[in-house]
Symmetry: C2
Amino acid sequence: MRLKSETSELRSILAINLRRLRAELALSQERLADLANLHRTYVGSIERSERNVSIDNIAKLAQALGVEPSELLKDLTQ
Amino acid sequence: MRLKSETSELRSILAINLRRLRAELALSQERLADLANLHRTYVGSIERSERNVSIDNIAKLAQALGVEPSELLKDLTQ
């Protein structure tokens, strides 16, 4: 159960960071999706921790948001 | 082309970090695969930047290596 919990936790960390960075840049989900060359509903599902996002898409999101990819996986609540 | 290059770059960063951390812990690919509950050939292909690894598997690898997931995506060559 530990692995499963860790796994879901990282999806949540990514979701929280995406929402935070998107808010800081005043970007809609649609605009971020456009910038990252992803679908709007896909970005929405990532922000609801529903998706097992791939490293290539993490790279696209980081580039669109102007941050290092590692920033997207950082737990800032610790 | 920029996106594509960024994308491949992040796979390489993960590959380099995996190999480095695995060496530091003196773990074989097989042992790391066991610890992360992944297949040995899969870990090998990640270390050759061949795989579009998912966030859930990044979480598993980080847990197996005892590091924060964000550490696996950090570019230490910069």
